[in-house]
């Protein structure tokens, strides 16, 4: 019995299950489970809809999924239509989200049961016909002619300018083909701007589904190309910048709240000033109301407001002047006298860069600021201020490090750019009269000075921005405020007026070379030298340091002397040149007293030594400066001939100790020497020739080398010795001979001390300096030249040369003895 009950129960369960299932599920209206419908209406496939179950392959589908993106993409993946990039790459009108609360969605656009937008909100396979043809609108619920469907939901974006929106409809402005090629649609009629001219619902990689990004102003410029700051050939128009990031202008927060937008990297873009939708603030869709106070401009350009009380406010200096719109400053506002956001306000002047052209639009011949045109020579523009190092030349023209420069540089387009160049606006802020305050000046008869003149910094701080390495000159002998406070430059300015730089250099109205501010009194072949001589002459303020007597030669080329140097040489135009010649500034840096130490205290009255004296390199205790050219002679350092080591108390004829004069200065005076020969800085002792006399000045009983006096020190004269073939320096057999009276080189004559001795090198085998230890010499060193014995002596004296040498130089050796293998000779 139980089995029967169970069997019946089972049959009933099965029967009820199928029968009840139809009764329990509400059938959709007009269901059509045929393939042509179910190919999208997945839910309607028989096994789901009729059998109410899944298959071996898939789960039962209870809910409608026809409007789900997965169904759409099952065809739009390229297998029927390729919408991979346009629709399904997350670049589409939002779905699975509710529309904004303020938006009223017409009933013909259904949301899903959760109130979210889905594909089916706009699309249906049973869509309307359209004037555009089925291929465009067959799946759209309403005709989208002229973006009509867009406007049905986005009604707040419609209505054009009166409604505070970008105008739609036909326009005179042509919609560029380039934009159309990128997917922009044009409405019916001529140049009909519609929503889809700028926006595309599917496939945009840009914000707000724009055809192109507006964050770089590109979309706007497609049509409004006349507002572009660049012409098609790359020339900068004198318009307000776009797509540039200002380091100083900050867009006010309240402007951002009003809808101002910045570029992806905070650049100024079209939409920084213009809001395209829902903007009734000002005509032209501007975010700020315009007025005669230039509020629109000053909102962002706060620092420009100080122009109002300066001569650059044309209301004071040129009230009748009209801009290119034909309006006076009173009519158009103080900014618009010079600037219009999308037009030129003034005809630009001639200049190498954009900002300079702006300045020259007034400060040029025939224009309102003609009288202020800089005269003569002026500081260069269109140059970089950064450190220019040439490892081969010991001269830093400009020492500014890029990261330290606070002054603005500008590129060709007038945009501030740290890699840009110097322009007028680098030093001048045309919107602010004084560097130290916001106070203005409108009186025409008041001229500018080092603090005013629209300078960004007071001078000399302004100069120091770039030329800080020249400011070692402060408190030195070249600080005329210290040493010649009454001296005036060619503008009749004293140091107190001109500042320390202005005593020698003028930024505007200067002399030709080095912007020289002083009168050039000499006209040597080298302009660089003339600058020095303009003070260092018999009547000049540097008359105490005039070059006279015998001095180191200038206007010579070290290269022609076979010398290499890293010291700067100067050409005939006074410019640094590898092919140039020596001049004062080759060895001297007029801006720095001490080449090593920074001297900040007053050192204007200190007498110089070889350690300072504006030398480019320290020359004591190491002979660094001389060595730069005379490297071979510098092997003398720390040998017995370096008196800093061996006779520090000795003095040269100028009364300088070796430390004061430097190693070289002991024997040679660079300036104002008394002896032409070798610029000799010591006296002359006894000797048969001038060369020997110079050597003997030390190697004499009263000399500093009195313990090194050869008892027999001379070779017999009159032997007509010739050194032809051995008179070439640097050759191993070099054996110079000198004229006894002049000290000049001679190829036939007599042997003197330096014939055998090189006074600058202790050991001919080693090209190096000494070690500061006083050594007893041998026949291998002792300042002897290479192979002196092995070559020259043996030429004349054969194999007994050494015996003869010892005989004549050492009395103890003057004995007769058998010395094999030498052949003894009979001595008298």
């Amino acid at each position: 019995m139980k089995k029967i009950i169970l069997l019946n129960l089972s049959i009933l369960v099965i029967a009820f299950q199928s029968g009840i299932s139809h009764a329990q599920i509400e059938a959709p209206r007009n269901p059509d489970s045929a393939k042509e419908c179910a190919i999208c209406h997945y839910r309607w496939i028989d096994i789901f809809f009729i059998d109410g179950k899944g298959s071996d392959l898939v789960e039962y589908q209870a809910e409608k999924v026809v409007a789900r993106p997965e169904i759409c993409f099952s065809c739009h993946d390229g297998s029927v239509v390729d919408s991979r990039a346009r629709v399904y790459n997350d670049l589409r009108h939002q779905i699975n989200k509710p529309p904004p609360s303020h938006m009223r969605i017409p009933k013909i656009f259904p949301l899903d049961k959760n109130g979210n937008m889905q594909c089916s909100t706009c699309h249906t396979a049973h869509g309307v016909s359209s004037e555009y043809g089925m291929e465009k609108t067959i799946f759209i619920r309403s005709s989208n002619k002229d973006s009509a469907m867009c406007r049905m939901c986005h009604s707040d974006k419609d209505g054009g300018l009166p409604a505070g929106n970008h105008p739609t409809g036909s326009t005179e402005r042509k919609i560029p083909k380039k934009l159309v090629a990128r997917g922009a649609l044009i409405g019916e009629g001529k140049n009909n701007v519609i929503c889809e001219t700028c926006h595309t619902v599917h496939g945009s990689h840009n914000e707000s589904f724009l055809i192109e990004s507006s964050r770089n102003s590109q979309l706007c410029l497609e049509c409004h190309s006349d507002k572009n700051i660049f012409t098609p050939d790359g020339k900068r128009n004198h318009f307000h910048v776009i797509n540039a990031k200002s380091e100083k202008v900050k867009i006010p927060d309240d402007l951002i709240l009003k809808g101002a937008k910045l570029g992806n990297n905070a650049e100024i873009i079209c939409q920084t000033c213009h809001r395209i939708h829902n903007n009734k603030i000002e005509k032209h869709l501007l975010l700020i109301k315009k007025d005669e106070k230039s509020t629109l401009c000053v909102t962002c350009h706060i620092d420009k407001q100080y122009l109002a009380d300066t001569k650059h406010n044309l209301i004071h200096s040129a009230p009748e002047e009209k801009n290119l719109e034909g309006k006076t400053v009173a009519e158009t506002g103080i900014c618009s006298a010079c600037h219009l956001p999308h037009k030129e306000a003034r005809k630009p002047g001639e200049g190498p860069d954009f900002t300079t052209q702006l300045c020259f639009s007034c400060h040029s011949k025939g224009n309102i600021a003609e009288e202020t045109i800089p005269k003569d020579y002026t500081h260069p523009i269109d140059v970089t201020p950064y450190k220019q190092e040439d490892k081969d030349i010991l001269l830093t023209k400009i020492g500014m490090e890029k990261e330290k420069l606070a002054l603005p540089l500008y590129n060709k387009s007038g945009v501030q750019d740290r890699d840009g160049k110097i322009t007028c606006a680098t030093c001048h802020d045309p919107h602010r009269w004084r560097a130290d305050s916001t106070e203005g000046e409108i009186r025409k008869d008041v001229k500018g000075d080092k603090t005013t003149s629209f300078l960004r910094r007071s001078s000399p701080g302004l100069c120091e921005e770039c030329h800080d390495d020249k400011f070692y000159v402060v408190n030195s002998k070249h600080d005329l405020g210290k040493v010649a406070p009454e001296e005036k430059n060619i503008l009749e300015q004293g140091p107190s007026e001109s500042d320390i730089c202005g005593t020698c250099h003028l930024v505007h109205g200067a002399g030709k070379d080095y912007l020289w501010a002083r009168e050039i009194t000499t006209k040597s072949d080298n302009p660089a030298e003339n600058l020095c001589v303009s003070c260092h002459n018999e009547k000049g303020i540097g008359k105490e340091k005039v070059i006279k007597g015998y001095s180191h030669p200038v206007n010579i080329s070290p290269a022609e002397k076979g010398l290499k140097t890293t010291l700067p040489l100067f050409d005939k135009d006074g410019k640094v040149s590898e092919e140039g010649v020596m001049t004062c500034q080759t060895c001297h840096d007029p801006h720095r007293w001490d080449p090593v130490r920074t001297v900040s205290e007053d050192h204007s009255k200190v007498e110089g030594t070889s350690e300072n004296s504006f030398l480019r390199l320290e020359n004591s205790p190491q002979p660094g400066l001389c060595e730069n050219c005379h490297a071979v002679q510098a092997y003398l350092e720390k040998t017995d001939h370096d008196l800093i080591v061996t006779a520090p108390e000795e003095k040269n004829i100028s009364g300088q100790t070796p430390h004061e004069s430097g190693t070289c200065g002991v024997c040679h005076l660079v300036h104002n020497g008394k002896n032409r020969i070798k610029l000799w800085a010591q006296g002359f002792a006894k000797g048969k020739g001038v060369m020997d006399m110079m050597c003997n000045s030390c190697h004499s009983k009263k000399g500093s080398a009195k313990i090194k006096i050869p008892e027999i020190d001379t070779h017999p004269d009159g032997q007509l010795i010739t050194n032809v073939g051995r008179d070439i320096k640097d050759k191993p057999n070099y054996f110079p001979m000198y004229d006894n009276s002049t000290g000049e080189y001679s190829s036939v004559g007599n042997i003197s001390c330096p014939s055998c001795h090189d006074v600058h090198q202790w050991d001919p085998r080693f090209d190096k300096k000494g070690n500061g230890v006083n050594l007893e010499g041998t026949a291998n060193n002792s300042f002897l030249r290479t192979h002196t014995y092995g070559l020259l002596c043996i030429d004349c004296h054969g194999l007994d040369a050494l015996f003869r040498f010892k005989y004549y130089h050492d009395p103890l050796e003057r004995v007769e003895r058998m010395t094999s293998p030498f052949i003894p000779i009979k001595l008298e």
Binding site: V13, Q24, K35, K53, S55, D56, L57, I71, D77, G78
Partner: protein, 370 residues
């Protein structure tokens, strides 16, 4: 009150003595509840157990053979809607990264080697490429759909040649896949929008003939999409809206239709990718159902790919192009997951596994018409 759970069926007796059974299928809930109300008010306990067994039988998945695949690794490389994959004889895996307009190459471990291509109309550039095939010499053939052409590259991606696929009746071509029969000197190009196949002489790259037209009959297509050749160079083409695969012999003669409309075994909802293994079994991916079904060369349904760990049908995330290499590895482009998943094809499990064996011999039907 008690609670019984068995698989996906849950039953409990409430305080009033009513028995309620719930399954995970919602439509059954109401049915069981109603049955209980009518039949089983305060039932004796001996009825509950057999009832539960009956329901379990009703609810158990229908029997189906599973051809298990073992997951080896995934290839992910910033793909943007990849569509197809192929492997050269040298073992280089080439993936069509369509929206990125690149072809990306990987080694057998899935490590990126190189890529080529960028968006554009020039040689070596792409506009949303779709399909790929590689000949025995390692030359890579790309259906450059948006540029309406097929481009040929060497194995390192250097451009060799291109075929401009002509429009048909002023309708621009839409080449979605290529199939290369190097031995037969044939190159087949699938024109999706024009619903036909173009055959080219591989050596001259000149068009020889076309076959197919829009429609639902044999040799007719509604959006042919991806293609593959078996070892006898029979051509298999997914016919997306006709929800089938059509088979053509090397002469382009129609052989048979595989599959049909539906979501049951052996049927398709959105057939997309095809591949043939060394047993000449046909693998067909269905992008919406997310399954890959296996058919014998006779066209009979054989199995569906299974997940050996779950003992259930293996589900893929929008599978598109598939490929089976000589090592019996299956490569599946999962477009939505933006990856290529790689499997080894294992043995079969599931109902009737012992009853049937894979036929090794070619039991395709004969070609029937031009």
């Amino acid at each position: 009150m008690f609670k019984v759970t068995q698989g996906r069926v849950i039953g409990f007796l409430n305080a009033a003595g009513y028995v309620f059974f719930f399954t995970l299928r919602k439509n059954l809930i109401s049915k069981i509840s109603l049955i209980c109300e009518i039949i089983l008010k305060r039932p004796p306990l001996f009825l509950i157990l057999p009832l539960l067994l009956l329901l379990l039988l009703l609810d158990t998945a229908h029997g189906i053979r599973l051809t298990n695949v073992k997951h080896l690794f995934d290839i992910k490389h910033n793909f943007s809607e990849p569509s197809d994959v192929s492997v050269s004889k040298e073992g280089i895996i080439y993936v069509v990264d369509g929206v990125n307009n690149k072809i990306k190459a990987f080694n057998q471990k899935g490590k990126f080697i190189f890529s080529f291509g960028k968006k554009g109309p020039l040689k070596g550039q792409f506009k949303f490429p779709m399909g790929i095939d590689i000949d025995d010499s390692g030359r890579v053939y790309i259906a450059d759909s948006g540029n309406r052409r097929v481009q040929v590259f060497n194995s390192t991606g250097s451009f060799i040649s291109q075929i401009r696929v002509p429009p048909k009746d002023d309708n621009p071509a839409d080449p979605t896949d290529v199939a290369v029969n190097e031995a037969g000197n044939r190159l087949y190009v699938v024109d999706n929008d024009n619903h036909y196949i173009l055959a080219y002489d591989l050596s001259t790259l000149e068009q020889i003939k076309t076959f197919g037209m829009p429609g639902i009959e044999k040799r007719e297509f509604r959006y042919p999409f991806l293609a593959a050749l078996d070892k006898e160079k029979y051509l298999y083409i997914t016919d997306v809206i006709n929800t089938r695969v059509q088979v053509f012999n090397p002469d382009g003669l129609f052989v048979m239709v595989i599959g049909g409309w539906g979501v049951e075994k052996g049927k398709f909802f959105r057939p997309k990718g095809v591949a043939v293994d060394k047993l000449n079994r046909l693998f067909v991916s269905d992008s919406y159902m997310g399954v890959i079904q296996v058919f014998l060369s006779s066209g009979d349904f054989y199995s569906v790919l299974g997940d050996p760990e779950k003992g259930a049908v293996k589900k893929f995330i929008k599978p598109m192009g598939i490929y089976i290499d000589d090592n019996n590895r299956l490569y599946v482009v999962e477009m939505f997951a933006e990856k290529v998943s790689v499997y080894s094809i294992e043995g079969d499990t599931g109902r009737n596994v012992k009853d049937e064996e894979v036929k090794q011999e070619d039991d395709r039907g004969q070609a029937v018409s031009e």
